[in-house]
């Protein structure tokens, strides 16, 4: 039977709720049916319209001049008793709007198209193989620490030309940026302070690298951004450094969490795991299904520039709408049996990468990474089971798994 909720108490944004229970799918399912555009008032954040239907999120995302990113990028919940953090001093693709957004996006976009990432495939496969080689022979590991976090980090670091000895430091900064609300990653007294420190660390690091690449450009993305111009002018310092911040953070947490959540789904659905092992040609649709199933980015927000309507509900100028992607990807009106993990699902029009103006720049790279790691796992992982509790990140922005201890039998690579 359907679980019942009250609009007065339903919680879809509290970070504790996510840390304890994972995604509030029962709540979203109820909202999609009863209140698909819901005025949500929650402690410690400004009220917003919660958008939970697939079609409504697409409709909003297709109108980037009516619904802006700039004023409120996401719904951030402050911790009780803490001052709301001031607007973070960033300016990157996520909080830019047309026409500026397009000018900045074009600087690197061709490196991220299917054609642009194609040449990286052997490198990515080699990274995935190496990461698994390092744990081969062990019968237990923390899948997040030992495997899923290592691959995206290595790939983005390679793309940016960051030398190997600095990867650990990069990893720590991204953890602190996304996990500022989580006690495990908090440095200093608050989420805001933790994120500030990480941001300053990253800015400092890349400003040195930029100076170096301006003198001696290479083929890496750091060189492209460092030497880019808009209307004949180099990028201002804030925009320049924020660009790296975005690439590092966006390129890390998301793929890590899709990888972890993907293996978890395969452990929980052994029939699908066997199906994939018997039929590796299903790798591509399996990766799409993993991305739909996990939908690592929980939400972004938009702010209406004029009075408008969504799903028959009046939205006034200045109000924000919060787009809940995991909810859209379980929408009964779009997906047959949305709560079934089906690695052969076709078509699979999920919007885990967003859609429209801000469609994830790294989508094709993420797909290659997931294909690389799961190809290795299909070949080499004889079995895996949970060896302890799955620990989730205290965040209502990125659905993170911090730790996932597994028992496993992992074979050496064939060649």
């Amino acid at each position: 039977m359907e679980k019942q909720f009250s609009l007065d108490t339903i919680d879809i944004i509290g970070p504790d709720h996510y840390a304890k229970n994972g995604y509030p799918h029962a709540e979203w399912t109820w909202l999609r049916k009863h209140k698909p555009v819901f005025w949500c008032e929650h402690l410690n954040t400004d009220p917003f319209w919660a958008i939970t239907k697939h079609a409504d999120i697409i409709e909003i995302s297709k109108q980037p001049r009516l619904f802006l990113n700039g004023p409120r990028l996401l719904v951030f919940v402050n911790d009780p008793g803490m001052e709301p953090s001031p607007t973070p001093p960033f300016r990157h693709l996520l909080d830019m709007d047309p026409p500026v957004h397009g000018e900045y996006r074009t600087i690197v976009s061709r490196r991220f198209t299917p054609r642009g990432v194609r040449d990286l495939e052997p490198q990515i496969n080699a990274i995935a193989k190496k990461v698994l080689d390092d744990v081969t022979g062990r019968d237990q590991c923390d899948f997040v620490i030992d495997i899923s976090s290592k691959i995206p980090l290595a790939v983005i670091a390679e793309l940016l030309g960051v030398p190997h000895q600095d990867w650990e430091q990069l990893f720590q900064w991204t953890n602190e940026t996304i996990g500022g609300n989580d006690p495990e990653f908090q440095q200093g007294t608050s989420a805001g302070e933790t994120m500030d420190r990480a941001r300053l660390g990253l800015f400092q690091y890349f400003s040195e690298m930029v100076a170096q690449r301006m003198k001696h450009p290479t083929n890496d993305i750091t060189s492209i951004v460092a030497n880019a111009t808009i209307d004949g002018q180099p990028l201002p310092q804030l925009e320049l450094l924020s660009y790296f911040f975005l690439l590092v953070v966006a390129g890390n947490e998301t793929t890590r969490n899709a990888t972890t959540g993907g293996l978890l789904a395969l452990i929980e659905n052994p029939d699908q795991w066997q199906r994939l092992k018997k039929n590796p040609a299903l790798l591509k649709p399996a990766v799409e299904e993993i991305v739909r199933w996990t939908t690592p980015v929980i939400q972004f927000a938009r702010t209406a520039t004029e009075d408008t309507e969504v799903h028959g509900q009046k939205i006034r100028a200045g109000e924000s709408v919060c787009l809940f992607y995991p909810s859209a990807n379980r929408d009964e009106e779009v997906f047959a049996e949305p709560f079934k993990f089906d690695i052969g699902r076709d078509p699979n029009p999920h919007i885990a990468f967003g859609i429209g103006e801000h469609f994830c720049l790294g989508a094709h790279l993420a797909r290659l990474e997931l294909e690389g790691i799961f190809r290795q796992l299909i070949d080499r992982l004889d079995y895996a089971e949970l060896a302890g509790p799955v620990e989730r990140l205290r965040s209502s922005f990125v659905g993170g798994i911090k730790h996932m201890p597994i028992k496993m039998k992992l074979n050496p690579a064939q060649n």
Partner: protein, 64 residues
């Protein structure tokens, strides 16, 4: 039916080519080129899928 691609929006994600290779061709310039501007009725379902799958929502379908 007539199909159009907004090249300002198109970024070469190539999902359309997967959905309807008879109609769309994404070339080395990372832009979608139309193989057919007036695809036959038999391709309607594939075309609708391509419209839906386009990450940038750059494809439009007009009835004659």
């Amino acid at each position: 039916m007539k199909v159009a691609v907004d090249l300002q929006l198109c970024e070469g994600n190539a999902r359309c080519m997967e959905a309807a290779p008879e109609i769309f061709d994404v070339r080395d310039d990372d832009k979608t080129h139309l193989r057919l501007e007036n695809p036959p009725e038999s391709l309607r379902e594939k075309l609708k899928l391509a419209v839906r799958m386009c990450p940038r929502q750059a494809i439009s379908l007009k009835e004659d």
